[in-house]
Structure formats: structure tokens, C-alpha cells
């Protein structure tokens, strides 16, 4: 099968890649581009470990075909920090012990960031439903929810 040539922007960098038409975007990120921060937990859209944003929309990259990225803007966990500055969500996840094994963490960070972009003032229930597409088997979610709520409060404070 002939490879396809795709042009995208990944974490702010113009990026081109060649892929099979049937390859998932997750596979391209991980295998072709070496961006292994996004994880594969299921390959079927059920765990959220592969969450990225595509033109600011939260998606499971295992369910996106790589050619669909043409001309689009991708953000992965590798693009959340600014230089040596961790994003407030990254800082709070560490401070609140919102990760144990850490395999779900990239997906949760992307999903939380997308959630707060849409709803900067979420209730606990809204955070729980906003993150219901991301499985975590270690934490029981308590500390993740607290970390996200805390960041939302801080970001509101900073915006004031």
C-alpha cells in the first residue's frame, strides 16, 4: 500500500509524516514520531489512555486514522509543559499524588485540560462526568478529582 504524506502541527511544531492509510494516529505518534507519552490501554476507545486534542477537540487517538490529522493541530502530553515549567495540572497531579503507576496520567492530563478549557468552574460531578472516559485502576479517582478541582480554583483565582 502506498504511504500517505500528512502535514500537521504537533505541540506547536509543524510536523510531516508518512503513514499507511489504515494506521491509527496513536500508532503514528508512538511508532513513527517517537511521542510515546500517549499510551495504548485498549485500542478501542474505552480507556482514554491515548487521549489527545485534535483542533482543540478531545479525542481517543486510537480511534483516529492518521490521515485525518491532515492540516490539523494536535496536542499531546509532551506539549503541556512550557519549557521547564510544568503546567498547573501537572504540578497539582504530582503534589496531590493523583497518580500511582502513572500509565493513565497522560490521558487524564489532556482530558482535564480540555475539560477546564470548556468549563473553568466545574462542580465535582461535572469533573467526574468530564473524566468518565478515562480509566484509572490505581487511584480510585479521589486524588485526581481533587487535583483537577484545585487547579480550576487556582486558575480562576489567577484570572481574577
Amino acid at each position: 500500500m502506498a504511504k500517505m504524506h500528512i502535514s500537521t502541527t504537533i505541540n506547536g511544531e509543524p510536523t510531516e509524516f508518512l503513514c499507511d492509510p489504515s494506521q491509527s494516529l496513536l500508532d503514528v505518534l508512538r511508532d513513527n514520531l517517537g511521542l510515546t507519552g500517549s499510551k495504548e490501554g485498549c485500542g478501542s476507545g474505552d480507556c482514554g489512555a491515548c487521549s489527545i486534542t485534535l483542533d482543540d477537540r478531545l479525542v481517543c487517538s486510537c480511534l483516529v486514522l492518521a490521515p485525518e490529522a491532515e492540516g490539523k493541530k494536535i496536542e499531546t502530553v509532551e506539549g503541556i509543559a512550557q519549557g521547564d515549567q510544568l503546567h498547573p495540572l501537572q504540578k497539582k497531579f504530582v503534589e496531590f499524588a493523583a497518580l500511582q503507576c502513572g500509565i493513565c496520567t497522560p490521558g487524564f492530563l489532556i482530558a482535564s485540560k480540555a475539560l477546564l478549557a470548556k468549563n473553568p468552574n466545574p462542580t465535582e460531578t461535572e469533573v467526574r462526568f468530564g473524566l468518565a472516559g478515562n480509566l484509572c485502576r490505581c487511584t480510585g479517582y479521589d486524588k485526581i478529582i481533587r487535583a483537577v478541582m484545585e487547579v480550576a480554583a487556582e486558575m480562576r483565582g489567577a484570572a481574577r
Binding site: C42, Q90, T139, G140
Partner: protein
Amino acid sequence: MSTGQGNSGKYKWIGTRVDRPDGADKVTGRARFGADFNMPGQLIGRVLRSPHAHALIKSIDTSAAEKLAGVKAVITAQDLPEQPNVIVPAGEMQVNLRDITRNILAREKVLFEGHPIAAVAATSDAIARQAVELIKVEYEVLPHVIDVAEAMKPDAPVLHDHLITEGVKPPPTKASNIAKRMDNAKGDIEAGWKQAEVTIEREYTTQAVHQGYIEPHACLASAAEDGQVQLWSTTQGHFQVRGFVSRLLGIETSQIRVTPSEIGGGFGGKTVVYLEPIAVRLSQKSGKPVKMVMTREEVFRASGPAPGGTVRVKLGARKDGTIVAAECEIALQAGAFPGSPLGPACWTSFACYDIPNIKVVGFDVVSNRPKVAAYRAPGAPISAWGVESTLDILAQELGMDPIELRLKNAAKKGTKTSYGPTFDTIGFVETLEAIKNSAHYKTPPKPGYARGVAAGFWFNVGADSSAAAHVAEDGTVTVISGNPDIGGSRASLALMAAEELGVDYEKVRPVIADTSSIGFNFVTGGSRVTFATGLAVVNSVRDMIRELKVRAAKTWGVDPDAVVWEDGMAKPAGSNVGEFEPLSLAQLAATAGKTGGPINGHAQLNAQGAGPGFGVHVVDLKVDRDTGCVHIDRYTAAQDVGTAIHPSYVEGQIQGGAVQGIGWALNEEYIYNAKGRLDNAGFLDYRMPVASDLPMIDALVVEVPNPHHPYGVRGVGEVPIVPPLAAVGNAVARSINIRMTDLPLSPPRLSAAIDAATPKMAAE
């Protein structure tokens, strides 16, 4: 959130909520997990699996696969040497070498759907998948059996012609699916029943559940022409992986170097090997590195879930609530090969209680399912489901508060268990009291909600650990150990090292070494790392301090005994030693070259004296009578952890374990169809709890120090999965007035039970 009772207050670092050393790595995506390793020129390995639950393998033809362009190696069981019928320890479980080699690649028979038959290595995943399809296997399909009770029947299809039940006298003459019978007892059970004024007897079932770690099994093997093997693997025990690969492939242990990746969850399920021997053999055959990653479906079908089982419990008590007799009979699924966690299921069954007369009988039963593996407190949640449910019925019958009933019978220091040991200092009473005095327990459930409580026990284990401590020229310290960090153990090891040395936590860098760079360490499991490897770390630091004192003594020209180590500094022991300014770690490190060279410490031990742990959980929930859906409103879990080295991670273990238990109670189960095939091998249909299913989980950290550890550590990870099954079941029983005895309490089952009871209730 935390209610650490203050043992930790006496320490500078222990008990503080510092950032974990690997935190930034994990939130930026830098940390490398199992599937994140790659090597130049690597091949991709894939496995052909059985579509049948039970079948004879008549022939395997790999020729078409071998001819496919891009295929570099194909193997079957013929490529693994036959193994003796010998049992070796694997994590908290035992494995038989003859069986494990057949579990990795089937020999005479396939014994479950998903059983590996052959494997290929090819230049791409697509080619490897195509090659797998080209392998032709001729089967003779045999009748299968999935259910434990069915498998125990005399006319059930027999999986292994050589399997004679162990533990029965005289031994049976005919093969069966019952691999083992186990008995343990205390007192005189018949005399006990005579004293009982109330007797309750019930039978319960649970279904197989999966650990559900989010990271599938993965490894990368590179075998060189000179026989050396490099292996990267996501595992709870890279020394175990080395041992298995060496044994199963006949390679000298020292020729294999296993480097653990970061591990994306395990909960006991990553203490066994599935892919590693295959990848190594494929690499040997092809001369190229071979990477293998399971799909989620393969994880469900062919890794080791926890068993389901049947538990019959009988309790006899006096009217005042004193339990005088207790009996429990447990039958556990082993999967396709013998070896369920039957021992722990039996031994833990009544461990929470001081009961004079106990009788426990257990059966280990094979059936056409994947071979079970450890899952957090293996076996214990199943017997606790039976025992703690029956206790709740007893409490209702006697009109007693369920916590009071448990307090009345609670095991204490000096209580002799039914399986042998007598408890030293334990904190069960303190844990019950923590719940009794909690805001949760003191507040009645909201209108429409019902409350359930249950308790749980786990031994916690010690075993082999090695550690080393090095001081660098700037006075910072590297602490090296050999247990994969599955839930934040780097932080607790560094905290203990900093405490012992008297230096800042930030000055200590914990490193997890590969199998060639540190001495042997037993698996990350059994809640042992903070306890046993923590002890090795503390001892390695003590060894280093001994050396630091020698160096200070040399500098001052005094005897080493005249030097003490305090607050990270060498000081003269007393005024008669002489007047010397204290020497800091950094000063001693800077002059090390002049005082005798590098300053290191080492330790190796087999840790004894693991402190048993107890947990008590309380849950408020409501059952939607129309849908059978359970809504959890409030959940509190108390646990005696000895000392909380890092309270946040201790709470996290408790919360995570509780939620896994809630999933087990409410939704999770392996569902088989009539053909013996698993119908729900994916996260969509195997329904694990998500954030919106749950409230916050309040963790009450009780600290009754373990007298056998310098900092009182007991171990935390396993206890919290034991109580939730019964806690949820008890709350459901009180909510709908129907005692459910079969897990999971999923919406279809609950609504069926409610529907079945409704006309009767209307008629009454």
C-alpha cells in the same frame, strides 16, 4: 482527608507528603513504560491463540507462515524444553514448571480459549498478524467445563489425565479436576456448635475478575550470538522474569539481564511470565531484537485473572454476640492449571476474629479458563465476601450493631489463628474504633440510602531484598534497590533513607536497578516493598553511616566508636573524645579520596516479621428499584498501616483498592458463552468503575506500628480490596431487604432479584 494518628509526628521526613522523585517524568510523558521501548532493527512478535476452550492439538503446520516475506522466525512448544513437574514460588502464588511451559505455549492440548499455540516474529506488526493467520492447526475439539461446581462433578470433562487430588487420604485412584483439598482447624468444632444459641449458614459465589491494569503486558528481548540476553519488561519482579526465562529456556541466569520498565499497574497480575520466554526464543531464532505487546483482548483472554469461587459459611454464636464456632468451605477456580490462591483464601477467612472453634476446608479446581494469577490479597476477598456477609446476617439476627459485633469478637495481640501463628501487636480493634468514631458512622445514612460495613485482613509479606547506598562527592545520595515502583515506592524508600541519614529528602535519589546491577529482590507484591525493601534501604544507609563514622574518626584521629551520627553529621560521642566541629555528609564526601576512597553501604536480607494489616469499610448506597443500578453516596475505609511513610500514597492505595473491590462487588465478571468463549474481553463490556460511578473515598489511616520494623511499617496495598465486596453486599441487603449471595450485584441481577421478590412482598 488524612487522619494519621501522629506516630509520624516524631519524624522529620517520614509522614510528610513530599513530591515523588519520578513525578515530573510521569506527568510529562517521559517515563518509559513497557511498550515504550524500541530497538533499531526490532521485529514484532505475535501469538496464535486457541479458538477452542478445550481441544487436542492434532498437528500444527507453520510452513505457509514461514514462507511469508518479512517473517523471520516461527516457534511452537517444540522450541521450549520440556520441564519437570516441580513447583516453584511466583510472587504470592506457586507455579508448576511443567504447567507454566504449557501455559506459555500449548503442547498436547489447548485448555482455554486464548491459549497460545505458536508465535511469529516479523518485520512489521501487519506481517506478523498475517503470518499468525497462515498457521494451520488441526484440533480435535473436546467437551469443556467452565464452572467450578460443574468441574467438581464426577462426570465432568477432565482437563488433565494425571491430576490426582492432593490432600485426600487415601489418595483417589482416578484423575479429576480437583487438584487439591486443604484443611485447617482450631479447637473442637462439634463442641462449638453445641454452645451456639444462634446458627447461620449460607452459600455464596463470586465470578472471575481481572486486575484490569491499564498497561497491557509488553516486553522487548534481544539475544546476542554469544548467548547473552537483554530483556526489557513490564513486570512486578524482574528477578522473577530472569529466573523464569533462565529455567524455561535453559539459559544461565547470569547471561540474562532484565531491565524493568515503568509499570502501568499490576496488582499481582504481572508476577507471572507470558511473553518473555517467547520473545527471547524468537530473538534467538531470528538473530534480531523482538518486541511483543498484548492487545487488551489478549490481556483478558490469556493473562491471569483472579478466580471466582463458591464459599459456604456457617457461624454459631451466643445471644450476646460471642462467636463460638465457625466453619467455611471454599472452592476456587484455578483456571486451566492447578494453583489458585486457595491457601490465603482459607487462612484469611476468620483471621479477623478470635473464635475458639474453627474448621476450614478448601478445594483447588481446574476448568477451561485462563490460569489464574495473584490479584491484590489473592483469595482473601472471596472468603471475606462469605464470612463478612454471614456476620452481617448474624448482627441483624441478634439486633446488634455490626461494628459492635466485630469489636466483641475482634482478634488482638495473643489471638491464635486457625492456620497457626499467634498475632503480635495488631491494630484491628483500633481500626474498628476509627470507623465507629468516624463522622461517617456517626451520621445516619441519607433518606433512601442504606449502610453496610465489613472488615478484611491480609498477612503482608517480607522476603528477599537487596539495597545499596552511595554518597557522591557533593554529599548527595543515591539509593539503589530492585523493586519496580508500581505505586510510589520510590518516594517511601527515599523518605526512609533521608530520615535515617538525617539529610534532606531532595538530596536522596532512589534508583531501581536491573538484575545485573543489584542483588536479588523478590517481586513487588505482597505489600512488601516499603516493609522489606525499605528495611534493606535503611540497613544499607546504616552500613554507609558506619563507614562515614570511620572516616570522621580518621579525620579527627579518634576511635570510630567515639563518633556518633546525628542530624546528617558526624559528631564526637561525648566531651572526653575531644573538641571537634561536626562533619557533615557533604564535608565527609568531599574528603573521601583522602580518607579511604568511595563511601558506600550495602544490605541484603530476608525480611521477617511482616505486620498483618486490617481494614474496615463502611458504605452508604441506594439501589434504583427500576434499573437495579447501585448509587454509592459515601464510602469510608479505615486501615491499620503501621506507619504511613508517605500518607498520600497510603491513602491512594486504600482508595484504589476500595474502588477495585467496589467494581468486583457491582459489575466486574468474566462472562462465558456456551462454547466456552469469553464474551466480554474488552473494557466496554468488562465494566470497571469510572469516575462518575463513585464518590470521594475517605481513607482513615490508623497507625499501630509494626514492632518488627524500625519505622513501624506494615504494608498497605492489599488489605483495602478485601472488605468492599461484603460491605457493598451488606448495604444492598439492608437497602432492598434481599440478601444477594452471588456477585456481581450488577443491574440485571439486582433487578431480577427485586422483580422476583416484588409479587411476594405485595402478597404479604
